[in-house]
């Protein structure tokens, strides 16, 4: 696993020769697992470049930041990117641009977050070449009083054949909160396959009843469901899982 820290809005250079850092850009030179942690960041622009045939699994983590982030992912021919991402920020204003630039480039974007105060996500996926694929999964637990907005836009121009687009966003509310999901798919090509689902809702009482009927307390039942929603989406390694569980532990019973 390769670790990259972004501290005070700057990418910290490392000796790792599988990544090249060029100002705000990260160029991946080898396939593999990478972890990026944003530490005390508030305003950052970062580009990720994945060359032909590389297979990158990227875990992004941000906790307690009040952050404005612009992340751009450029994928070349047959490049494969799996992003697993967890945020529990004070505030987030994030724009994600994904450019599937060449044939068979594909991205799986798994994002889980705790909505603490005010989080806004603008996710744009541009299918610029044929047979490209995007799977976007957002899972958010909205705390009481929080605002969570997702604008998700997928684009396929006419003539860009046989693309696959999927968007799935789910927000579970732990109290009164403002939540919006705007899923858009701008498709001008008939051969495209597209699916999407968006759900905003409370914790299901039937689920709580089932768990409690096995002796699990109300607080633990909520913890289990929240943990399930967040963790199962992003498949963190042991170190990251421990960090995330510590954050989730504080939510129980809200």
């Amino acid at each position: 696993m390769h670790k990259i820290n972004v501290v005070n809005n700057k990418i910290i250079p490392s000796d790792d020769d599988s990544i090249m850092i060029d100002n705000d850009s990260l160029i991946f030179l080898d396939s593999g697992d990478y972890v990026i942690e944003y530490i005390e960041c508030n305003n950052i622009e970062i580009n990720f470049n994945i060359k032909n045939n590389l297979c990158i699994q990227l875990f992004e983590f941000s906790n307690n930041n009040s952050i404005s982030l612009k992340a751009t992912y450029n994928l070349d021919k047959s490049a494969s990117l799996i992003i697993n991402k967890f945020y529990s920020n004070e505030n987030t204003d994030e724009t994600v641009n994904v450019y599937l630039k060449e044939t068979k480039a594909n991205i799986k974007y798994n994002f889980s977050s705790i909505g603490n105060k005010n989080d806004k996500y603008n996710i744009n996926i541009y299918h610029l070449a044929k047979e490209t694929r995007s799977d976007i999964f957002n899972r958010t637990v909205a705390r009481k009083g929080s605002i969570n907005v997702f604008d998700i836009n997928s684009y396929v121009e006419n003539g860009v054949c046989k693309c696959f687009l999927n968007q799935s966003t789910k927000i579970i509310t732990l109290g009164k909160s403002i939540n919006k999901i705007n899923p858009n798919m701008f498709i001008a090509e008939n051969s495209t396959t597209a699916t999407h689902s968006s759900v905003i809702g409370n914790m299901r009482r039937d689920e709580l009843f089932y768990l409690m009927s096995r002796g699990i307390t109300y607080k633990s039942a909520i913890n289990l469901i929240v943990k399930g929603l967040i963790i199962s989406n992003i498949n963190p390694n042991i170190e990251m899982k421990e960090k995330i569980l510590n954050i989730l532990e504080k939510l129980g019973g809200e």
Partner: protein, 253 residues
Amino acid sequence: MLKIENLIVKANNKIILDKFNLIVNDGEIHVIMGPNGVGKSTLSRVIMGDYNYEVISGNIYFNNDNLLPLSTDERAKKGIFLAMQYPMEIDGVSNQDFLRTAISSINNKRIGLYDFIIKCEKGAEELSMDKDLIHRSLNVGFSGGEKKKNEVLQIKLLKPNFIILDELDSGLDIDSLKIVGENIKKYKDENPNTSILIITHHPKILEFLKPDYVHIMDKGRIYQSGNYELALEIEKFGYIDRKNILTVEDKNA
């Protein structure tokens, strides 16, 4: 063990249980039968403390403790287990995490991982369950039979002393029914003081779990009680024909 007195229960402004009475002593097996919509499943969920049902009056005692003020998890901790007709699917919550949390909650002590795995694997093997199901999301993508086996696995792990089986036989093929029936019988043989309340339409499961009492429900209460023969009679004549026979016999008498 369980004593229900004059229980009146309402849901959606409709009385579902109407002055319902039942006593189940230690070690007894009781069966409740009746057509759809007479309140059988409501009874099971009210015993377990489902917030969807409003208890208007009456009492439920379990080992002389009043159950009604207790939350669902507190009732489970007293040893009551409801095997549900439609076990919930909860996406993301792993079966393993759920089972381990449940065992730890019931026993008030965190179960060690090794101990848990051994118990789980043994239970799953006895139920001819695919071990992979332990690692999947709770009941998600499980077949009807796998869901019911997962309920019985929970019985084995949580070791309740009062088990409610709400139409456990629905959705089970004949082989799975045999496995499930034999496993519950084994549990009962190993824990003879455990009481079982079976809610069913079909007496097939009673071939494994011979009941001490069979009750027929209608309009929110028990209108007839008998033994195993009564269940066989119901299977032969059905509820409507049998009611007509009873009415004619009553008139002749």
